[in-house]
Subunit: 180 residues, 2 copies
Amino acid sequence: MSESKPKRADARRNEKTLLDAAAAVFVASGVDAPVRDIAAKAGVGMGTIYRHFPTRADLIIAVYRHQVEECASAGPALLAAADSPHAALARWIDLFVDFLVTKHGLAGVLQGDGFDTLHAYFLERLVPVCAQLLEAAELTSRVRPLELMRGVGNLCVGAEDNPDYDARRLVGLLIEGLRA
Amino acid sequence: MSESKPKRADARRNEKTLLDAAAAVFVASGVDAPVRDIAAKAGVGMGTIYRHFPTRADLIIAVYRHQVEECASAGPALLAAADSPHAALARWIDLFVDFLVTKHGLAGVLQGDGFDTLHAYFLERLVPVCAQLLEAAELTSRVRPLELMRGVGNLCVGAEDNPDYDARRLVGLLIEGLRA
DNA sequence: TAACGATACGGAGCAGTGTTCCGTTTAGCA
DNA sequence: TGCTAAACGGAACACTGCTCCGTATCGTTA
């Protein structure tokens, strides 16, 4: 939540290196890539990774934080710009789905199980936005925001270069069902 | 797909013991329980488990095979008995969801990742049933059967004693969206 | 009933995870 | 230039699923 202290210069450098390496490895091998691989790619030892990011999840968060923030701030913007609250909600969900689907394995990791930190972060950040959109669309009686987010997240699992599974279509159906 | 050979008596006994132990452990600790725990509970060594069930997934399949078969055969029955194909589909999906949701962690395991055998078995067995129901309901243009099954399975992930996440509701919305 | 070969068993051991620990190195200040 | 807190590296740990092979047991046959 804050900057703490911008300590030593080499530490700063390593953190950036680590973030870049992690991002690269995530693209290449998915979010489940072994920590060792990331350390190797960055040319640092295990200890270094764990000093900067106490847990695998923290590293993932750090890598994707920027995009999560982007998605969060897109909510109000869409609400202001779109034709209707419904449309805004649909567009925003699309954004979220795009984000998840293009990150190999990210959706799978949203499901708790040792990734409590990650899970909590995503939800903390995005659920309020979702709540706002649902309220504007007068759909609060149909689903709770948290529920919808988790549902959409779940639907995105395994939707990577899988021609037999189109998460977007299913999410679309879910949203359609929302206003029936 | 056949009975092979009903070999030695102690082997038969152990297989039953193993199945019972696994079922018990699954209820207590979820489907992700370590193989060692199951072996311990059954009072046998690791080797014994792996002789009977070449892989963790095979053990899970064996434990739940009966219920999967039940679910599969419920499809045609519902189609014959229900008021409409739609109703039959909805009821059948309910059955499937109940099955997944009451088995701690089962849904999570449906998502491939080393459980290809399990995944394949479930799908092989249930997708045709789903296809039949979708055809009867004239919904084949809206989703492919495989897609729907996977989607529903995904929605059930993490719906265990979780007051904030009602998989049944979301699946309901999805099905509603199907006929919009 | 005794012996013997096929069958099944047990559990140590391997390989691959995430994470911790601590001796070593280094940045940056006096 | 020295010195100390900060940072580093990677061996080691705990925990997985799974394999391997020496040992025990079954059940058949003489």
